[in-house]
Symmetry: C2
């Protein structure tokens, strides 16, 4: 948590994070709680954040247009603004944690990004697969990292995204172990949410994505894969941060992976028939 | 046609435009044929064009992201390039006709845009509703302007798009008269093509869109509405040109309305389940 946040010490994890409304969840994060948001505010969409200087904004928006599976743009906050159409709050304070990048290197992780924010930043909110976890749970498809109270496992792949101007980088994926007899259901359910990564990009065989060890994710926490479960991979909104690390823009701010913006938009708003 | 095109006089309309392949259609347009492209190269997607100076490209791409119904971006051609991922050709020559805008005013209409093109232009190819006309015809839904051999009727509405930076303007719609008992089919069929405007934005009652006289379209040709037919309105990729007229960027090039880029991409590539 931000060391200069006077009320951070009062923030403790809630007993039932799923039951929180999005306003309540964001109030806890503003108060200093730094936790992964999977399982929080069930039924509300969550979003990734990447903020870049205005002079890189076209390159990044084009990168997102060319890579809609990992980078579905839900909202864009223009320079000098800090409010989003997606939630009633401040994008600099209402996420649990932020990462600050200088020349592509992470230089800090903070609970409050106001001290690092710049007036020339354009902030992009990108769809997050946590959004379709409520529909998965409602269908009886288990979500292991919620059961375990841990962060989702995320991996850099060896698949390059399509570059745009000065922005390029690899596809990042999130992984959920799914019982083999529920993989089809997981595909069917998540494919109805294309704005939050939609259907999996890959089912089984991590080596085919260049992932050598599932127990060592590049972001988040490892999860147990039980007998009879298949690792299923979805495109991930950390992809923009992998592109920042690969492309080394002079400055960027992202969310800490798994520590998302919880929006006031219902999951169902992003569902297609 | 371009007055300086030495072979333009040899180009005559084909006997069966639907049977042309996209390469053949574009060759006719390069040779000087200037016709609306509805009904050409059946089964291939068509696209609108708007090219703007690089310094406006972020504002326009954000405008498109905020108005995905009229402005679904299919491809972006970066400065200094003239080829598209969507077709094997040159975006400056392969459309039947272009409009040149200076400070938001149309100053010319040409068959060949090479003389006006600038190295700082970013060209956006935007989905076109002509793409779903083949599926409509295959389902027995009549498309009047193809029957009549005329251009589609397009109208400025009184609905503002969401603005982005220096770009704003009204929604433009195309109109097709549909027999009342086929309106549901037309909605169902076109809703499966969200990347080329998808479902109608409005069915019946042009006054509700601020359209006072269907016989006087703002772009294209009027069409007969027969007894028992309902005017059905789809979002239109001329919306970016209406935004150019409203926002007055110093320079822009668009297609002449109805005179589209015919791509090498099958309609079905843009179909969702």
């Amino acid at each position: 948590m931000s060391s200069d946040d006077p009320i951070s010490s009062t923030a403790t994890p809630p007993a039932d994070p799923a039951a929180l409304g999005p306003h309540q969840a964001r109030a806890l994060f503003r108060a200093g709680l730094q936790v992964p948001t999977s399982g929080y505010a069930a039924g509300y969409a969550q979003a990734n954040l990447i903020a870049l200087p205005r002079e890189l904004a076209f390159d990044f928006l084009l990168f997102a247009q060319r890579n809609p599976k990992p980078c579905p743009v839900l909202d864009v906050i223009e320079p000098g603004r800090t409010g989003s159409a997606l939630f009633d709050g401040d994008v600099r304070t209402d996420l649990p944690a932020y990462r600050i990048y200088v020349n592509g290197e992470q230089v800090d992780e903070v609970g409050d990004a106001r001290g690092a924010w710049r007036d020339d930043l354009v902030a992009f909110l990108i769809g997050c697969s946590f959004t379709f976890e409520t529909p998965l749970l409602e269908a009886g498809v288990p979500v292991r990292h919620i059961e375990a109270g841990s962060n989702v496992a995320m991996y850099r792949t060896d698949r390059p995204c399509r570059g745009a101007g000065r922005i390029s980088g690899p596809l990042v994926v999130s992984m959920r172990p799914i019982p083999a007899d529920r993989v089809a259901d997981a595909v069917r359910i998540t494919s109805r949410y294309p704005a939050v990564h939609g259907a999996p990009v890959h089912v089984g065989d991590p080596a085919a994505l260049g992932i050598t060890d599932l127990d060592r994710p590049d972001f988040g926490d490892p999860v147990e894969i039980r007998p009879g479960e298949i690792p299923v991979f979805w495109a991930c909104g950390v992809t923009p941060q992998a592109a920042v690390m690969a492309s080394a823009p002079e400055f960027a701010i992202g969310h800490a992976p798994g520590h998302m913006a919880i929006t006031d938009v219902r999951d169902s708003a992003y569902q297609v028939p």
